[in-house]
C-alpha cells in the first residue's frame, strides 16, 4: 500500500533522511518512531507531498507519488503535528471547503459532515471562526476533515499532540476501525504506549536511517531486552541507553 524505496532527503549539507526503504501493507497500522531530529517529520512530509525527496521513490496504493501526485493525494488523509488552519473560516465552512477541494458531492455529504463534527464534538462550534478554536479543537477539526473524503491511506504526524484523554481514546478507536476497514495508517509518534497498543509493525529511524523494523515482539527480540516495555527497546535500539546517566542531585 505504501512503499518507500531508497528515500533520501538532503538539506544543503545535512542528510535528514538517508536511503530509507520500507513497505506498509493494506490494513496495517505502521508506527514510525525515532528520537527528536531523527527524520520522522521529514519522511512524513515527503509521504504527504509537502516536501520533494532528493532521491528515491514513494508509491502509495500502487501509484508513484511524483508522477500521479493529485491522484495519490485524493487517496490520502494527512494530519500534521501542528494544526494550522484557515482562521477566518468557520468550522463548517472549512469542512465544505475540503469537500469541494476533494470533489466530494452527493446527497449524503451534509449528513457526513455533521456526523464527523458530532463525532469530534465540534458540532456546536460549526458556525464559529476556526481562529477562536483551542489547539485541541483545531486538531480534531483537521482529523474530521481528513476523514471526510474516505481516504485509503492515513498519514499522521503525532496524532495525540494537544488531545485530552477523551480525544486520545477516540483516535485509538478510529484507528482500530480504520484497520478493520482495510485502511492503512502510517503514523509517527513519541508516545510509545500508543505505538505498542496500536501498531502492527514499527519502524525506528535514527539519524535519517531506518535502524530497526518489525512487530513489537520482533523488535524486543532483536534488542535482546529483558524489560518487556517498548521504551527500553526503543532506547536500546536508538543507543540512548548507552549514555551513562548523569547524577541528578544538582537539580
Amino acid at each position: 500500500m505504501i512503499q518507500l524505496e531508497n528515500l533520501t532527503k538532503c538539506y544543503q549539507q545535512v542528510t535528514a533522511v538517508d536511503n530509507v526503504s520500507l513497505r506498509v501493507n493494506r490494513g496495517e497500522i505502521y508506527g514510525f518512531l525515532g528520537p527528536n531530529g531523527a527524520g520522522k517529520t521529514t519522511t512524513i512530509k515527503m509521504l504527504a507531498g509537502v516536501l520533494r525527496p532528493t532521491s528515491g521513490r514513494i508509491s502509495i496504493d500502487g501509484l508513484d507519488l511524483r508522477q500521479h501526485a493529485v491522484e495519490v493525494k485524493r487517496r490520502v488523509g494527512f494530519i500534521p503535528d501542528r494544526p494550522f488552519l484557515y482562521e477566518k473560516l468557520t468550522g463548517l465552512e472549512f469542512m465544505t471547503f475540503i469537500a469541494n477541494i476533494y470533489g466530494i458531492n452527493g446527497e449524503h455529504l451534509d449528513r457526513r459532515v455533521q456526523r464527523l463534527l458530532e463525532l469530534f464534538e465540534l458540532a456546536e462550534w460549526g458556525n464559529e471562526l476556526v481562529g477562536s478554536f483551542s489547539h485541541g479543537m483545531k486538531q480534531r477539526l483537521i482529523m474530521s476533515s481528513a476523514l471526510l473524503h474516505g481516504p485509503r491511506v492515513f498519514i499522521v504526524d503525532e496524532p495525540m499532540v494537544g488531545l485530552d484523554p477523551k480525544g486520545a481514546r477516540l483516535i485509538k478507536r478510529i484507528f482500530r476501525e480504520l484497520r478493520r476497514s482495510e485502511m492503512t495508517v502510517f503514523m509517527s509518534t513519541h508516545t510509545l504506549g500508543i505505538a505498542e497498543e496500536l501498531c502492527d509493525r514499527i519502524g525506528i529511524i535514527q539519524k535519517g536511517k531506518l535502524v530497526a523494523e518489525g512487530t513489537v515482539a520482533e523488535l524486543k527480540q532483536a534488542a535482546g531486552q529483558e524489560d518487556p516495555h517498548l521504551e527500553s527497546v526503543f532506547l536500546h535500539l536508538t543507543g540512548a541507553d548507552a549514555v551513562s546517566p548523569e547524577p541528578l542531585d544538582f537539580i
Binding site: 501542528r82 465552512e93 465544505t96
Partner: protein, 564 residues
Amino acid sequence: MNVLTLLAPRWWALKNGFLFGGRRTLIKTTSLLAMAIGFWVGIYVIFYRVLSYFQAVQEFGDILAYKLLSMVFLTFFGLLIFSNVLVALSTFFLSQDLSTIHATPVSLGELFAARFVETLLESSWMVLLFGIPIFTAYGLTYRGSGLYYLSLLSVMIPYLVLAGSIGVTLTMLLVQIFPAQRTRDILFLLFILLGILLYFLFRFMRPERLVDPDAFTDVVIYFRALSAPSSAYLPSTWATESVWPFLRPSSTPGGFYQGFLWMTAGASVVVSAFVTFLVYPQSWSKSQEARRIVIGRLINRTPLAAVLGPRRGSQFTALMGKDFKTFFRDNSQWSQLLLIFALIVVYLYNYSVLPLERARMPTFYLQNLIAFLNMGLAGFVLASIGVRFIFPAVSAEGFSFWIMQTSPITLGRLLWSKFFFYLAPLLLLGQILAIASNELLQVAPLMRWLTPITIFWMVFGITALGIGMGAVFPNFKAENVAQVATGFGGLLYMILAMSFIVLIVVLEAGPVYTLFMAQVQQRSLSFVQWLYIGGCFFLGVVVNLAVVWLPMRYGIRKLADYEG
C-alpha cells in the same frame, strides 16, 4: 538587572537574524538599506529645496519655516502615539513570550520597564530615522550651529518618551474596554480613516494655487492666519520653541520649553507606570480569555446565506470563496479598500482641476498627451494596488499552505484561481480610471477607445505578474500579510510591473502619434505606416501574453520547490 535580561532576547533575535540569515537576509537588508537611503536623500532634497525657497521669501519665509517645523513635530507626535499604542498592544498583551515571562519571578515593575523600553525603541526608530534628513535640512539651510543639533537631541529624547508614555497609558485603558486583538483592528481602521480624511483635506485645499499669482490675495490672508501662535499646551509647540531659537533669533528662551518637555516626559512615565500597576494584571488576564466569534450563525439568518454560507462547488469556486471570506473577515485587509477609494477619488479629482486652458500648447494636443500619460499613471496606480493585494495573495495562505500542498489540487489551479479572483476587481477599477479620466479630459475618440482597451489588457499582465512573483517569493511565515509587500519580492514586482507598463506605453506611443498626425493633417496613411502601427500593436500583444504566461509558469515551478 532583570530589565536587561528581559530585553536581551530581542537583541539576540536581531543579531541571530544577521548571523544565520545567510545570503538572502544579506540581499534583503542591503536592498532595504538602499531603499531607505534613497528615501532619506529624497526627503532631505525636498525639505532643503522647500526651506531654501522659504528663506528667499521676504517677511513670510521664516514664519513658513517655523510652521512647517511645528507641523513636522505635531505629525511625528501623532504618529508616535499611534505607533506606540500598536506596539504596546503587542509587547504588553499579544506577544507569545508573555505566558512564559508571567510564569517567572519577574516583578511588574521590571516587566513594565523592559516592555516600555522595547515599545519605545520599536515605535520610535522609524520616525527618528526619517526625522534626521528633515532636521539636517533645517540645520544646513539656516546654518544652525552645533548647539542646534545638541538641542535637537535634548528635545527628541523627552519627546519620544512622552509619546511612548501616552501610548502605553492609552493601551492600558483601551484594553480595559476592548479585547486586545479588537483594539488593534479598531485603531488600524481609525488610522486609515484619519489618513484618508487628511489626504482629502490636503488635496481639496488645492495647494497648487500657492504658485498661482491670481490667488495671491487668498495666500496673504492664509499667511496672516499662519502667524498666529500655536497652542501652548501642545508638546509639538514646546519642541519647536526649544529648537527654533538655535536657527533664528527668537524672543522665547528655548531652555524654558526644554525644561518643560523633560519634566512632562518624566511625569508621564510615572503616570504610565501607575496606570500599568493599577490595571495591567486585570487587563492581561482579560486579554487571554477566548473569543467566540460566531460568523455563520449571523449570516445564516440573512438573505446572504445563499451567497456567503458554505456552498458546494468546484475546486475553483471553493478556492475563490475561501479567499473572498478570508479577505473580508480580515479587518487589516478590507479596510485598505478605503484607501484605494480615496486614491481613485483624488486621482480623478486631479484631472478635473487641471488648468489645461492656461497652457501654451494647443488644448487638443495637451488633452491627448495627458490622456496618453494617463495610461502609464493608471498602470502605476494598478501596480501599486497589485503590490499591496495581489503580490501577497500566495503568502496569504500562511501556515495553512500545507492544506494546499497535501490536497488533490495542482499548484497551477491554485495560482490561476487567485489570478481570476484578483483580475475581476482590478479590471473594473482599471476601466473606471480609464473611462472617467478620459471623460474629464474630453479626449479625442481614438484615445477614448485606446485607453480602456490598453488598460484592460495591461491588467492581465499586472495581475499575473503579482501572482507569479508572489509565488516566487512566498512568505508563509509573515505575521501580517501587509508586511509581505514591503520585502525584496515586492520591490522587484514593482520594478517589473512598471517596466511592463512603460514598455506597453512606449510601444503605443509611435503608432498613436502617427495616427494623430494623419488625423490632424487630414491625410491617409501609407502601407509602411500601417505596417508599423500593426507591428507595434502586435508586439504589445506578444509582450502582454508573455507577462501573463511566464511569471505564472515560473511561479508554479518555484512554488512546487518550496520547502519552508
